[in-house]
Amino acid sequence: MKTTASDVEFDVVNLSGSTSTVAVDLDDLPDTALGESLRRVLRDVVDGTLSDIAGFSSAI
């Protein structure tokens, strides 16, 4: 199930290693590779579906 939440908070770790928290509306993210990646990560976190397991790579 997809998250419908907007204004979720997201920790942004910049390249210097420091962290800042920003509020994000998922609908405002662009339809780009980066926007989709951010949506997936946010949904994993918000939905609590973030689990550290990985599947078979020789099939798609």
Binding site: V24, T32, A33, S58
Partner: protein, 383 residues
């Protein structure tokens, strides 16, 4: 029983033979020859026992969904009757216990309207292996007598893309050849309108390094990054690319979906045509018998398999099992040491960096830095 970490995905070898003879194939062309002793296809009684074992595992662990990947050889060589029987007994055994996502990974050459009708009826989605345009695909993906497979694959993909079957079309799997033009390969794949693509590194070890292996020039990273930059910079997302998405998601605090990268534990297991349970079959690229466990669906349940120390070790993606050099690496959380198979060297086993370590470091560092910098800028603007 809670100490058992359950499996969630089963790679089911429904047929041993293949109508192609791809020169990089880890089943037939590399170090393991165990396929010679296995039945050509999975017998109905093996399929029924397997379905029962999976359902039992799902019940014991209260799994909400299991994933089944029909694989080979070329799985369509099992024939429609056997495939239909297998998916029927799987769905029947799991009914009321867990959802069941069934997919099939094929070379695409044998797809025809009858197969697609069967897949629509049983909701079996299809991934196809393709390495690019005709010239690129023919470099490796030929029949045993040397004939091109391209026309047959393209015909299969055209059928899969028809409106009535389009929902079954899972995507394309491409093995990297660094002598090819990466942009041309990507665009050739895009021309088949896949919803997802993945790029695989040719299976290799320190004993048998990949073609054009060069840790100073990192040709695999350079090839992949050419595709990445083209894909990432597109104003609208053209398709999904699993490897790149996994690296980006890990960089941004998410997780990987595939075992190729990251420190996640693997959740899949392989079942051969004779019902034997095996470790990830890419290990067959390492040495004879590397994937064998000695267990089978007739005599053992999947919990017994999951408790075996060698299975626990092979599934563990954590940093403890990695080489010291990897544990100290700044991108270890993203790269994860790469596929276990690619770390193998005689004498030291799997406690080595990947034979692709230099390429993986360049690849993951570039993607991480680009994604983090752009995410910070994007989220900064959004806040």
């Amino acid at each position: 029983m809670s100490e058992v970490r359950p499996f969630r995905e089963w790679v089911v070898k429904v047929a041993q033979p293949c109508n192609l003879a791809c020169d990089y194939c880890y089943v037939y062309e590399l170090r393991d020859s165990s396929w010679r002793d296995k039945p050509r296809v999975m017998a109905p009684e093996t399929a029924e026992r397997l379905a029962g074992r999976i359902a039992e595992h799902a019940r014991v662990h209260a799994l909400q969904e299991v994933r089944i990947v029909l694989h080979g050889g070329e799985p369509l060589l099992a024939g429609r009757e056997r495939i239909e029987h297998l998916v029927t007994v799987l769905r029947s055994a799991l009914h009321g216990t867990a959802g069941c996502d069934i997919s099939l990974q094929s070379n695409g050459t044998l797809l025809d309207p009858l197969w697609l009708e069967l897949f629509r009826r049983h909701q079996v989605s299809v991934g196809v292996s393709l390495d690019g345009d005709r010239g690129t695909n023919d470099l490796h993906r030929r029949s045993r007598n040397g004939r091109s497979s391209y026309t047959a694959v393209r015909r299969g993909l055209e059928l899969l893309r028809q409106p009535e079957s389009r929902a079954l079309y899972r995507g394309l799997l491409c093995t990297v050849d660094v002598t090819t033009d990466p942009t041309a390969v990507y665009e050739a794949l895009l021309s088949h309108a896949p919803r997802a693509v993945d790029f695989l590194l040719p299976h290799a070890t320190w004993e048998y390094p990949p073609p054009h292996h060069d840790p100073r020039r990192t040709p695999y990273a350079r090839w992949l990054l050419t595709v990445f930059d083209r894909w990432y910079s597109a104003p609208h997302r053209e398709t999904r690319i699993r490897l790149f998405e996994d690296i980006m998601d890990l960089s941004l605090g998410g997780r990987a979906r595939s075992a190729s990268v990251g420190l996640g534990e693997t959740d899949f297991i392989v079942v051969e045509t004779d019902g034997t349970m095996e470790l990830p079959d890419s290990l067959k690229a390492a040495y004879e018998g590397a994937a064998a466990t000695g267990m089978n669906v007739f005599d053992h349940d999947f919990d017994a398999l999951a408790r075996r120390p060698d299975v626990v070790e092979a599934r563990d993606g954590g940093p403890e099992g990695l080489a010291e050099e990897c544990r100290r690496c700044p991108v270890v959380n993203i790269c994860g040491g790469g596929l276990r198979t690619h770390r193998y060297a005689p004498g030291t086993g799997f406690a080595n960096p990947s034979v692709y370590t230099a390429d993986l470091r360049v690849l993951t560092t570039h993607i991480r830095d680009r994604a983090l910098a752009d995410a910070a800028a994007l989220l900064g603007r959004a806040s």
